[in-house]
Amino acid sequence: MSYPKELKYTKEHEWAKVEDGKVRMGITDFAQRELGDIVYVELPEVGREVKQAEAIITVESVKAASDVYAPVSGRVVEVNGELEQHPEYVNQDPYGKGWMALLEMSDPSELDALLDAEAYEKLIGEAEGEG
């Protein structure tokens, strides 16, 4: 499994990529593997104001629905409409074609609360150890 160094991560298995004042987000490779085949992604409306750790996206796998949380507070400025026709992108390319939303950050200091790749890998190492 891969966890790019340039991304930030949450304990809830979202990734966040800072792109000049904005944050692109999705779910991690670990998360997509745990969920299995993703069949539908319910995206937030563009323009919606969201708070850090608020559930803003629902990912439906064959078996279950899971919430995806905003890694930072801000406003939704773009969503990945491609996922409507191709939810499998989340499984195939979670950090690329499987991105979900782009947020305009309201408080960049919130990024400090996120994990770097190393800390995230340690976290999921522990999660996998439980199985």
Partner: protein, 369 residues
């Protein structure tokens, strides 16, 4: 309590299965991907370990009379080496379980849901003790194994490994044969909507057959695809469409409720319901007209109405049909006809849906007994 494991457990692990708890057993949810495994069975063939199903043998000269008392379907109509699908009900007509009943030359075999096996055994023994002292009941679950070979290519695939002529085995017919000198039972049955077989026998023989099939390139299929396949074929799943609060008539299984000349458990209620009296709810199939995945327990409404009209029992984005479909109960004695507009509450928002006919999908399965 430790989870039970089938004789295939180590093989599942070696195949890289994702394991889950199901009905007290540690079972493979998927090996590669639910969607891939689903497609394999629809388009070609796949094999399932279903050894977690309960296998109960019934013997004795009174066995048929006992089964006639126990289930609403008519076991007397079975030939030797034929099987029957039936619910098993309580006095109120509530469904205790749904099962396959095999009439074999020297015994009857009941195949029940894994999660219900212990409850069923208690119920069956209690019913037996009351009126059928000479009938013997044996739990054969742990002493045997069971696999399913399912898909349009099931016959040609399995035929390469067994001597009996499968082309001559009709739907819901069974044959006893030998595999590596062990007695096995093969029936043309399944739970996928496709043609296929189930094979029962001593663990070592059935494991050997599984290994041969895997070696021949047949993909293993987990419980995830078993559920999505049965869902598209609109087969009920106990704990979803069926439970003790639901009668077979309400579940659309009126065809399994027979007016037999003998009394059986739940007969009065079930026959009344079959005449349309006292039916509290009806199982319906529905298709979403906007995206959303209905799941068990979500609420159903009639279009524009405030009052809850029913509940979802199963739902998913159906892999073969590529549509958001669900099954659920609507309160009342009559189900609205196909095309009727309803609404499903998904994540706090009502979505438009429409009643559609079941089964959602008809595969290569030969028929219904």
């Amino acid at each position: 309590m430790a989870l039970k494991r089938t004789p295939f457990f180590e093989l599942h692990r070696k195949l890289g299965a994702k394991l889950v708890e199901f009905g007290g057993w540690e079972m493979p949810l998927q090996y590669t991907s639910i969607l891939e495994e689903h497609r394999a069975v629809r388009e070609s063939v796949g094999i399932f370990d279903v050894s977690h199903m309960g296998r109960i043998e019934v013997t004795g000269p009174q066995a048929l009379d006992f089964l006639q008392h126990l289930i609403p379907n008519d076991a007397a109509q079975l030939d030797v080496d034929q099987a029957l699908y039936s619910p098993m009900c309580n006095e109120q007509g509530g469904t205790l379980d749904d099962l396959l009943v095999y009439r074999l030359p020297d015994r009857w075999l009941l195949v029940v849901n894994a999660a219900n096996t212990e409850k069923d055994l208690r119920w069956i023994q209690q019913q037996q003790a009351q009126r059928f002292p000479s009938v013997e009941i044996r739990d054969a679950t742990r002493a045997s194994a069971q696999i399913a070979v399912q898909g349009p290519r099931a016959e040609e695939t399995l035929q390469k490994h067994v001597e009996v002529n499968l082309a001559r085995l009709g739907y819901y017919r069974a044959v006893e044969t030998e595999y590596f000198k062990e007695p096995i039972l093969i029936s043309r049955t399944g739970y996928t909507g496709e043609d296929g077989f189930e094979v029962y026998g001593p663990p070592q023989a059935v494991v050997q057959l599984w290994k041969e099939l895997i070696k021949a390139g047949v993909p293993p299929v987990g419980l995830g695809a078993r559920d999505s396949l049965r869902f598209e074929a609109s087969y009920p799943l106990y704990g979803h469409e069926l439970d003790e609060e639901t009668t077979p008539v309400e579940a659309g299984l009126g065809w399994t409720v027979k007016d037999k000349p003998v009394d059986y458990v739940g007969k009065d209620v079930l026959l009344q319901q079959k005449r349309g009296e006292g039916v509290r709810k009806r199982l319906v199939g529905f298709a979403l007209r906007e995206p959303g995945v209905p799941r068990q327990g979500y609420k159903l409404y009639r279009k524009g109405e405030e009052e809850e009209a029913g509940y979802v029992t199963s739902g998913m984005k159906a892999p073969t049909l590529n549509a958001f479909l669900g099954m659920g109960y609507l309160w009342g004695s009559e189900a609205p006809p196909p095309g009727s507009a309803i609404e499903v509450e998904i994540h706090g928002k009502r979505r438009r849906a429409e009643i559609v006919k079941m089964p959602f999908y008809r595969g290569s399965v030969k028929g219904r007994s």
